[in-house]
Symmetry: C2
Subunit: 238 residues, 2 copies
Amino acid sequence: MPVSCPHNAEINCRDCRMNTLCLPIALELDEVERLNEIVQRGRPLHRDEHVYSSGNEFKAVYAVRSGSIKTYSVNDKGVEQVTGFYLPGEIFGMDGIAHTHHANAAVAMETSAVCEIPFSRLEDLSITMPSLQRHFFKLMSKEITSDQQLITLLSKNSAEERIATLLLSISARNAKRNLSSVRFRLPMSRADIGNYLGLTVETVSRVFSRFQKQQLLNVDKKEIEIRDVPGLQELSNS
Amino acid sequence: MPVSCPHNAEINCRDCRMNTLCLPIALELDEVERLNEIVQRGRPLHRDEHVYSSGNEFKAVYAVRSGSIKTYSVNDKGVEQVTGFYLPGEIFGMDGIAHTHHANAAVAMETSAVCEIPFSRLEDLSITMPSLQRHFFKLMSKEITSDQQLITLLSKNSAEERIATLLLSISARNAKRNLSSVRFRLPMSRADIGNYLGLTVETVSRVFSRFQKQQLLNVDKKEIEIRDVPGLQELSNS
DNA sequence: AAACCCCTTTGATGCAGGTCATTTGCGACT
DNA sequence: AGTCGCAAATGACCTGCATCAAAGGGGTTT
């Protein structure tokens, strides 16, 4: 749980490198300032530290400032399901709005920092800032469409297609953050990838090996180099 | 596309049997009246008629008044993916908010009627009615959590578990509408069920037959009688 | 540096569900 | 009553991925 001390208080949304990703572009400067005032910046989280756990009271949504976060749920039988991977500039925690408590848990996959945006204050602010309200409607709608894309992926596509699609998704999101779209480090383990995509670790590993053999990728542990974007896109049925 | 003539103009949200499902409970009477004024009621749609198609401009969200609606998307290769089934009192079309156009299509599975709620007017209204804003945040969040449950179902559960879960979901939603939770008519075809759950028609059919043999269900075409709720719940992993 | 742990890779085998093909049943139209 | 058409059921076979088992790094601890 990010402590709401003025740690990193020098950081302002106005100056944050990620602000084009997590804030509505249409915001006026003084509006950014008002939003900035409600955002709480937590101390850095290290690997495996939770932002919130399943059953925690829902109080806020979060933006990734650095590092990477995964969300997951646990069903009655104790089986975990990874529901999303979040990279810097992306918002998570919106699953909790419908209920008073979080359905999912969120955990840092590596040393990470997140901004906490208290939801009740966000709601109040939205009332006087229509563009902010619209922005959050859009963010939630995007979450819905991306979940639906995952549903399609899981119910219609083979292991190779699923993994190609995930790699391209990470590639595209890296591009948005002005990082390389062809060389990057996967923040998550093979087990997380398999869990997220409905596959076993062994299958994930085999597909990576096959992709390497087919010259689609260079894989070195978590370091990925995409060598044949069109080839992957074809697999991903784009 | 529902025609916005004053067809069925006598219907008012205030009197609608479904209003406890699609409206926020906290709404004052005059607030219901203001919402009622922006809601457009379309003529009845018959089977296979579209509410909107993929690529249509996003203008509104919709509530099912009677009948049943399915939403689906079509990927680049022309493969359909059913993304949801919506029963009376339920809201659909929220996937379009993020973009200016609908990602999905929505089609009537039987003769149906829907209420159209123009989104821009809903946004305006939300600004003066905080409980309405909160209601729509919650609706979207619910859509997210239910999509995530489907993701878990698809990536972790067997054909039998998936179908048991779908039947119990429809059963529970019928109960909310004061209909029988044990005897009902499935509005969708076996093909739709299979498509939604990531299974082939044959598998769906076989599982229905097996459930019947195990005395879990009586199946007569689309008429379902659940004979062993606890048995199904156990399969569905509670 | 040895011991340990955890993540990943690779191989061998089995099965749930897909694919293909045929049959059955029912409603609509003539 | 007969024919067409479509949804659903059933059977035979096949395959992609899971499962089980084992072994190979790389990092951390002592």
